[in-house]
Symmetry: C2
């Protein structure tokens, strides 16, 4: 297939490696000409150029994947839509979907939102790796009006990279990621209290794990809250109510109730991560 990747960062670059390895014609764009050169040198694209229209065959792409930051998705689509073939399937990889799927489909009818649930601690093309999506969920969020052939094409393509493709309505996707990804960032960050002195020497793997995503990229955390505000607030209110319940149980020394609450937490975790 002829596949364009707009944005050659962690996700776009990793996608490029996998698609080149499967013998697709992969072209890419980045505002930075150095990134374009590096992407071709490393095998994350067959051709790359800051101006997509300068790339041979870009007007006949089967699939275009918008891999820039979430705030760039709609402006980018708006800019390229007039020059796209109506047959081209367009998708994206942003982690919030309700705020853009409707508008994107209005700009280009063959748009189907997507969200690969994979990542890494690094950023940019330097952090991109082959096989990032293997055995990871990849959610597609078609509107009811979506072209089913476009959905099937994307499903087949991402499954060929080893991803497990799920289909969800944009709002259902956003509620789910608020609960398992965006909300937990703020719960995790709330565990980070200023040390009095000794704690820094004593902190171990439990504290390391609990605070990992709360101590991650601050800009990314901000964008999650900003673009998925409503669902994140619902989740965080629920988390705050749970914490308040535990505090009250400890204050009132209701130890059996507290143990039952922890037992329920252990049972819930089993439903997320069966052993």
């Amino acid at each position: 297939m002829n596949i364009g990747i707009l944005g050659l960062g962690l996700i776009g670059g990793s996608l490029g490696y996998d698609l080149v390895n499967r013998n697709h014609y992969v072209w890419g764009t980045s505002r930075n000409p150095d990134t374009c050169r590096q992407a071709v040198d490393r095998g994350a694209a067959c051709v790359a150029h800051p101006d997509w229209q300068a790339i041979p065959g870009s007007d006949r792409a089967d699939v275009v994947v918008l891999c820039g930051p979430i705030a760039t998705i709609l402006p980018t689509l708006q800019a390229i839509a007039p020059c796209l073939s109506p047959d081209t399937v367009v998708t994206d990889v942003a982690s919030v979907k309700s705020c853009l799927c409707q508008e994107a489909a209005a700009l280009h009818p063959r748009f189907v939102g997507g969200h690969p649930m994979a990542g890494g601690s690094g950023q940019g093309l330097a952090a991109a790796v082959p096989d990032l999506f293997r055995d990871r969920p990849w959610v597609l969020t078609p509107l009811p009006s979506a072209d089913r052939a476009a959905v099937t094409l994307l499903q087949t393509l991402w499954e060929s990279l080893g991803a497990k493709v799920w289909e969800l309505a944009p709002a259902a996707h956003d509620r789910a990621v608020a609960r398992i990804s965006h909300g937990p960032v703020f719960v995790s960050a709330s565990a980070l209290v200023p040390p009095h002195g000794h704690e820094t020497q004593l902190a171990s793997s439990g504290f390391f794990d609990t605070t990992r995503i709360g101590g991650g990229n601050p800009q990314l955390g901000r964008l999650m809250a900003q673009y998925n505000r409503e669902a994140v607030l619902v989740t965080l209110q629920e988390n705050a109510a749970r914490l308040a319940w535990a505090i009250a149980a400890i204050e009132q020394e209701r130890w059996d109730d507290l143990e039952a609450w922890l037992q329920e937490a252990a049972r819930l975790r089993q439903t997320y991560f069966p052993t």
Copy 2:
């Protein structure tokens, strides 16, 4: 040295492996005769018997380590104190110290509280492993009245296993572990909300890490709150206030403030875990 281990579980068994490997005379006790047999078979003790007084040389121990659950520490010490040599140094491995160090020292003047900050996901002798304490903190919590020779003896012994020994007052220890270990259990558990359906397929490593200790042993979590109640409550109030602050910032769409808060969280985490 002649070293007794009372309680052959995860900590007691691991300690036994390390001390036997360093050619000490290690004897152990467990209520369960099978555990005693297994400890000797596996090399976690030279001799083991449910009745410590039936073990040759137990009346001349240089060190006795109380490795049972926290609720058993004082009753066990009370039972053995009359038969202990006054020269024997007694210590324990419980994760809360204020509630028992004073009383333990009254029962046996050469008692010095201790807390190895190491563990594992399993329980019992089956989960015990050699080298569990290497490069891990081991806190000693002597009272001001403590016998310094006893403190030095324990410090040298635990350092010989590769542990990093710290000395803290019992209350300072309890405040520190509330912030980095006991409190985070409840913050972590509060992130575990009942799934609506899709979340269980989509949850990934971030959610896995954030909820790990909250989904751990419910009885252990209960005991942490029960025995370290005051310090845990102070920490959890602070965590709840932080979460409430983040919720308010998101409600009021103060995105720059929220990003600054996440930046501060990332900086705090760096002080705990420098990269």
